[in-house]
């Protein structure tokens, strides 16, 4: 098992399309819900415990080798917003491209064949982690960190927020991220033993509702 591969996969510059997505931050900024670093912290905390937890558990389960088709269906069931499903599949396809170039293997080739329009990004992330020689915990960490680092980076661009403040938010959330990662990995372990209903289904309704509105804006900086 390699640990350094985690740095490659979790690097914000890993070319998998994440830079064009705000994780709901653009809609929240426009609605006035994020206007400073404290707001960003609240927003990220909410995301971490809802969309983040679900993504982390899905990624861990995929890294454990659970059936990607069933995991993709489980991700759909946990993503009410069609706009977010579309974004997740697009990002999944982009990530798969980068992962296949980085860690070529028959398993990822098979995923490209089975999901020509892309699988949900957290599922692909788990499979990419697996291909990179990483385990379920690393996969969960990666998904959880992305769930908060995306909005933080986007907010720096959207509000000209001080980048040191945004990074401080991420640093303060780290202990909580550890705890959520443990929950996600435990859930993935139970899903392997008992079935996918053991995966968490936490949801942030406002994230889903705002995503639908955001997708219809005529002018926006981020794809989601």
């Amino acid at each position: 098992m390699t640990h350094a591969a985690l740095l490659v996969l979790a690097d914000g510059r890993f070319p998998a399309g994440g830079h064009a997505h705000s994780g709901g931050a653009e809609a929240a900024v426009k609605a006035g819900r994020i206007s400073c670093a404290a707001d960003l912290e609240d927003f990220c905390r909410g995301r971490l415990h809802t969309a983040g937890l679900v993504a982390g558990a899905l990624a861990a389960a995929a890294a454990l080798g659970l059936d990607p088709r069933e995991l993709d269906a489980a991700a759909d069931a946990r993503t009410p917003s069609p706009a977010l499903r579309l974004a997740a599949r697009r990002l999944g396809r982009q990530l798969l491209r980068a992962a296949r170039a980085s860690w070529p293997c028959p398993e990822l080739d098979g995923i490209a064949r089975s999901f020509p329009k892309g699988a949900h990004q957290p599922v692909v992330l788990g499979l990419a982690a697996r291909a990179a020689g990483l385990g379920p915990a690393e996969a969960a960490y990666c998904a959880l960190y992305e769930s908060v680092s995306g909005p933080a980076t986007a907010t720096v661009r959207l509000l000209s927020l001080d980048p040191f403040d945004a990074t401080g938010v991420l640093a303060r959330l780290a202990p909580e991220l550890d705890a959520v990662a443990r929950t996600a990995v435990d859930a993935a372990g139970r899903a392997a033993a008992e079935g996918l209903q053991a995966l968490p289904a936490a949801s942030g309704p406002l994230l889903e509702i705002m995503a639908e509105a955001h997708a219809s804006w005529p002018a926006r900086l981020f794809a989601s």
Partner: protein, 225 residues
């Protein structure tokens, strides 16, 4: 190694110049340069000149709207299914250089839905003078500047002006009004670029995009031969 992808699913990356059946994929040409220099207008003019002889498609990378794509649609330079807009998250240069995944998806989807294509034009969202296209995304790049942006731009150089496969100095019709010295711009560009070509054009003039279209045809001949 590239002869048969069928055992491996679709190619992982698409810098690969051949389709799975062994034929050459569409030539991809990127158009970069500052906002307002005439990239979209050049794309539109190229489409009008080339669409009867070639199978064409366009990818736009708008900064925060779909205006470029919508302009091309409104002008009806190509059928709508041949124009795709990519969103770039406030960083147009990232989408054409550092993380080209969304643009690659767009060109591959176009090949799949309206292909086989001969040529795909990829317009970058207007950016600064350092923005260049990744070789993983395009096979050749055009950098478009205009005479109204200041006649010292060719002298200042930068990766776009210096290394692009073709430099277009656009809007020569405006030179008298903005006091730009065309001869000086041409000489500075030549000094920066040595043998690389430079075309001075006005899309308002009679010859319009003709010279650039001829350059594109040359590239295409070299690509397919």
């Amino acid at each position: 190694m590239h002869l048969d992808h069928s055992h491996h699913g679709p190619a992982a990356v698409s810098a690969d110049a051949h389709r799975p059946d062994g034929t050459r994929r569409a030539l991809r040409i990127g158009l970069g340069g500052p906002v307002g220099s005439g990239k979209t207008a050049t794309v539109a003019a190229l489409c009008r000149q080339l669409r009867d002889e070639l199978s064409l498609a366009v990818v736009t990378n708008d900064i925060y709207t779909r205006e470029d794509a919508e302009f091309l649609l409104r002008e009806a330079v190509l059928p709508p299914e041949r124009i795709t807009a990519v969103e770039t998250g406030a960083c147009p240069h990232t989408a054409i250089r550092d993380d080209i995944s969304a643009n690659l998806e767009a060109v591959e989807d176009l090949e799949e839905t309206v292909g086989p294509l001969d040529l795909i034009l990829v317009e970058s969202g207007g950016d600064n003078l350092t923005a260049t296209f990744s070789k993983g995304l395009v096979d050749a790049q055009i950098f478009v500047i205009d005479v109204a942006g200041g006649d010292d731009i060719p002298r200042k150089g930068g990766p776009g002006v210096t290394t692009a496969d073709l430099l277009i100095v656009n809007k020569t019709d405006l030179a008298p009004y903005v006091g730009s010295d065309l001869a000086r711009m041409a000489a500075d560009a030549k000094a920066q670029r040595a043998e690389l070509p430079v075309i001075l054009q006005s899309l308002r003039g009679d010859s319009g995009v003709t010279e650039v279209a001829a350059w594109v045809r040359e590239r295409l001949t070299a690509w397919t031969s």
